[in-house]
Amino acid sequence: MAPVLSVSALRKTFGDKVAVDGVSFEVGHNEIVGLLGPNGAGKTTTINMILGVLEPTAGRIQIEGRDVATQRAQALACTNFTAVYAPLPGNLTVYQNLRVFALIYDVKNSAARIQELLEQFDLVAFRNVKCGLLSSGEQARAALAKAMLNRPRLLLLDEPTASLDPSKAREIRATIRALARRDGVGVLWTSHNMVEVQEVCDRVLFLSRGAILLEGDPKTLPGEHGKGSLEDLFVSVAREPLTFEAG
């Protein structure tokens, strides 16, 4: 089966600065892939290119076999995302925001779908509350509900649990894992919480200075590189990327 997301030789430069340098990877159906790396590694730049809001300097991105550059609308119709830096507009209620995005994504039977998501993300009590008045955790859940509206085949989650308490974060992780298993969704997940990554991701990609340095199973990868934990490996990659480039 073709992957949900296929990224090949992706490159982005801003003048002389290389933000993403020849990145290639795939995300399969039912697979949760962690995109890891220190600040400035190129994670958000990569995600923005996948979302079509940043044009690559070179390379190709395909979602469900559709090229983002030439079949943007079809590719993004089966994609959705949530990111801490892109909250839903605070001047609309949770329901109003979901209704607007349901129209944009042409969600069939949207009233029932919205109700289902309000229940799934424990937002029924906040249905008519403006998003700007919600706590950061509630806003994160509202953004996740938006991200699920169109039953995406590819889900991009940029630190989705950063604002959630441990209990809600665990629920969200379980929900997304179940979604990936049940509906064959491919998930690209960024997080700085290595315990979470180890729990939820099937595979991780370590980005540093715009390039993928390491790739593998988050449970076995630290041992393969002589580290005790994924967090130790992350710290090493962040501090001594050249060691891994050479290796």
Binding site: V53, R72, A73, Y85, T93
Partner: protein, 267 residues
């Protein structure tokens, strides 16, 4: 073009207007203030000037048409600014929504809000000052069309400028109608202007509307060729403004401006 994303943009504005009386204020109060202010001025002028000159149809009618033009333009820019103010670009543009659908949504929003303001203005001017829109005859519709098309074009242009230069550039957009008004002869014949201003006026579609309006009120004729020229100019503005917006959008996607558009990203 698909209609549901277009309606999504309109629905968002409807929710904002319904949920915030402050947003309704400019639609209702400013036009009411303008009509009342100019209505009383025309009443006063009618008492001191030579009998026979119809100040209500000439001045108050001009205010009404000019306010309509301003409402159309602001209908576009304000709807666009809502996405700027709520930092919503990433959410909006990382969807299947196309630029054509987004712009169509802004235009449809402006049609609804400016029509509402127009009806308000006509009702007030008619009820309080006896303005009869029938004084302009069948020409009223093409006059409104030219002003509408020009307002749409300027609105799209203004949105593109803010997208390119950043949120702070909105302060360059609000005064555009005021900057244009001296050149288009809202309250006086173009012949009043110096030659260099007249040259600019002839390239501005609204100039023909206000010249035509005065000609009709004074019982003269308004050449159809002028109307056609004005309509053609206004249509050309829309094409140019749309091309400009698309170019700016592509620049924003290429350089990363769109992805990192934030509160003070003016360059």
């Amino acid at each position: 073009m698909r209609w549901h994303p277009v309606l999504a943009i309109v629905l968002r504005q409807f929710y904002l207007l319904r949920g915030s009386p402050a947003r309704l204020f400019p639609l209702v109060m400013w036009v009411a203030v303008d009509i009342l202010l100019w209505g009383f001025i025309t009443k006063y002028l009618a008492t001191v000037a030579t009998p026979g000159f119809n100040f209500v149809s000439t001045l108050l009618g001009a205010v009404l048409l000019w306010d309509f033009f301003g409402r159309v333009m602001l209908g576009i820019t304000t709807a666009f600014f809502e996405d700027v103010w709520s930092r919503n670009f990433l959410n909006i543009f990382a969807t299947p929504l196309s630029i054509a659908e987004y712009l169509a949504g802004l235009v449809l929003t402006s049609i609804i809000t400016s029509s509402f303001a127009l009806v308000m203005m006509i009702a007030l001017a008619t009820a309080v000052f006896g303005l009869s829109v029938f004084a302009y005859g069948a020409m009223l519709a093409p006059f409104l069309l030219v002003l509408f098309l020009t307002g749409i074009a300027l609105g799209i242009f203004g949105a593109a400028v803010v997208l390119r230069l950043g949120p702070a550039a909105e302060w360059l957009i609000w005064p555009i109608p005021a900057l244009v008004s001296p050149f288009v002869g809202v309250f006086y014949p173009l012949a009043t202007l110096p030659a260099w201003m007249q040259a600019i006026a002839h390239a501005l579609a609204p100039s023909y509307v206000f010249e035509g309006m005065r000609a009709i009120v004074m019982g003269g004729a308004f050449p159809a060729s002028h109307l056609l020229w004005a309509t053609g100019l206004a249509a050309l503005y829309i094409v140019l403004a749309t091309v400009f917006f698309v170019r700016v959008y592509r620049y924003a996607v290429r350089t990363g401006l769109l992805a990192r558009y934030s509160a003070e990203s003016a360059s």
